[in-house]
């Protein structure tokens, strides 16, 4: 594949995983929910898309149904999440994701088991690999922009303020009238819906789904994106997604140009792991700091007071 195709491919992946990173950022960065089962909802969206598209359902319904189904499972998962400590929740959801993967792996009638099943793409191949990728970039980034607007608007609103309060001290938040059950359930549903949407886009872009595409590694990769970019910062999540994908896919390009004694794939993971550990040791807040809550009213007050302060010093 020529370099330009690699790059376009990379951009599609950044878009798709950008959506997933935003969803995890909403759950963990803003609300403190340690969702280590992200890939489960990604899988639900992908497989739903695969099966529905085979039945001839129009693509937007496939995407919406996938997202909705993922949201329902997200709601289910949120119920035990209310009472579980962060690490218990992480392990439980991880196990949940593995159970789902086990099901699609074992039930061959469902979607081909281990060998998977083909998926009808939204943009059928018309003879140009480049056009195919450009079309997908268009669709994926449209979805990404919508998702970004949603999480950004939420972050900069009283709703986002409540989420952060729950993250900081959920008992205090409850004592101030915020039902943590309601907010956690909503956040899990929304985050899962986004992951499901991304899963559907992924499935139709690759035109195939199989269980091996939905290993826990995907969840870990998304976690690295959020932690690296900076939790509770939506731009950070996108930055993290871009950097991680460039790192992951960049080696595919580099492979053609560099010869090493060590398998590039292994080297990549080793470097990756070392990088994460170093980041956690020396810059645990990630690249971009937590975004402050910016509402119109707050901005006015800040500017007003700055003006008063300046006036005072004259």
């Amino acid at each position: 594949m020529g370099a330009s195709l690699y790059i376009l491919d990379l951009v599609v992946y950044i878009g798709i995983f950008g959506i997933v990173a935003l969803s995890l950022n909403l759950e963990f960065g803003f609300t403190g929910l340690a969702n280590f089962g992200k890939v489960a909802f990604f899988l639900i969206g992908a497989y739903t898309y695969a099966l529905l598209s085979q039945m001839g359902v129009p693509f937007y319904l496939c995407l919406i149904t996938g997202a909705s189904l993922a949201a329902i499972f997200g709601l289910l998962v949120s119920l035990p999440a209310l009472r579980l400590r962060a690490d218990y929740l992480a392990i439980a959801v991880l196990a949940f994701g593995e159970i789902l993967r086990l099901i699609v792996k074992s039930e061959k009638w469902l979607a081909g088991g281990d060998w998977g099943t083909p998926v009808n793409p939204i943009f059928p191949y018309t003879g140009s690999y480049i056009i195919y990728r450009l079309e997908n970039i268009g669709l994926v980034f449209l979805c990404l922009i919508i998702c970004f607007l949603v999480v950004q608007l939420l972050a900069n609103s009283p709703y986002g303020r409540v989420l952060r309060a729950i993250r900081e001290d959920e008992v205090a938040a409850e004592a101030l009238g915020k039902s943590k059950a309601k907010y956690k359930a909503q956040v899990f549903m929304l985050g899962s819906a986004m992951a499901g949407l991304a899963g559907g886009l992924y499935a139709q872009y690759l035109q195939y789904v199989l269980p091996g595409m939905f290993m826990p590694m995907v969840t870990f990769t998304v976690w690295i994106m959020v932690l690296l970019g900076g939790p509770a910062n939506n731009w950070g999540a996108l930055l993290g997604a871009a950097l991680v994908q460039i790192f992951a896919r960049g080696t595919n390009i580099a492979k053609d140009y560099i010869a090493l004694p060590i398998d590039l794939n292994d080297l990549q993971y080793i470097l990756f792991g070392v990088l994460i550990i170093l980041m956690l040791l020396f810059r645990p807040q990630g690249l971009l700091k937590e975004s402050t809550i910016k509402t119109k009213a707050l901005k006015l007050v800040r500017n007003g007071r700055r003006a008063i302060k300046n006036k005072g010093s004259q």
Binding site: V150, L153, L154, S157, P158, Y159, G160, R161, V162, R164, A165, E168, D169, V171, A172, A173, E174, A175, L176, G177, K178, S179, K180, Q186, L190, E290, T292, I293, T295, K296, A297, L298, L300, V301, R302, R305
Partner: protein, 254 residues
């Protein structure tokens, strides 16, 4: 209209066989400033935690505004107008002081999912008003210049003040204050209590645990004394001071 704002009857709470609160009965009237004193370990904080809904009473009833709140969730009790300021401040340390205040406000349009996304105009106006209110209260506790700083940067005394300020922001009918002036210099402490008195004229009732009796007794209209999980004395401050058993409670004599 109901007689009492808060009505506690024979409430007990035990942890693993140890009764922290053992058959407490008391009333708080609308708009009163009521004190709760007693030696460490007498059950004051546990009583507060049970009232606010953190614990369910093992025995007895708690009625607020005539309604039994034994089995309500914490946020539902807040909705009824009962707000608590914790002894060890439970602030949102990564949020700004102003944001901490804004979380406390009730009836916000913007904290609902649909509204925050699609009806932004509705809550943005409301937020402007809430910010003004918050800044007014912050001025009382002398935290105005910290409004945009993270709550984590406040000193211990300032954190207590923010905890109290947040409680006031919630526009409660009854505010439980667990040692609000602890760690705060006496001049500011007196100022705070004066302001609390002003708020009580607006209809807010206070139930205050406070060890510095000289401050409390200037402002409280009624005082309960707890010892070993029970209320042992109740009365007007002057009557309490004149009661010899009050000192016995603190000095541990029978």
């Amino acid at each position: 209209m109901e007689e009492e704002l808060l009505r506690i009857r024979e409430v007990s709470k035990h942890f693993g066989g140890v009764y922290a609160v053992n058959g407490v009965s008391l009333d708080i009237d609308h708009g009163g400033i009521c004190g709760l004193v007693g030696p460490n370990g007498s059950g004051k904080t546990t009583l507060f935690n049970t009232i606010l809904g953190l614990h369910k009473p093992d025995q007895g009833d708690i009625h607020f505004k005539g309604k039994c709140i034994n089995n309500l969730a914490i946020h539902q009790i807040y909705d009824l107008g009962l707000v608590n300021a914790f002894q060890l401040p439970r602030l949102f340390f990564n949020l700004s002081v102003l944001d901490n205040m804004l979380v406390a406000a009730r009836g916000q349009q913007g904290d609902r999912l649909y509204n925050s996304l699609f009806l932004r105009g509705r809550w943005q106006e409301q937020e402007k008003g809430l910010i003004e209110e918050a800044l007014d209260i912050l001025e009382v506790v002398e935290l105005t210049q910290w409004a945009f700083s993270p709550a984590g940067e406040l000193s211990g005394g300032q954190r207590k003040l923010l905890e109290v300020a947040r409680g006031l922001m919630a526009k409660p009918r009854l505010l439980l204050l667990d040692e609000p002036a602890a760690g705060i210099n006496p001049v500011l402490g007196k100022k705070i209590f004066q302001k609390l008195k002003d708020f009580s004229y607006n209809g807010i009732a206070f139930f205050i645990v406070e060890h510095r009796l000289e401050i409390l007794f200037d402002f409280a209209t009624w005082v309960y004394v707890m010892d070993k999980g029970k209320v042992v004395i109740a009365g007007e401050p002057q009557a309490i001071i004149d009661d010899p058993t009050f000192y016995a409670v603190y000095l541990g004599e029978e």
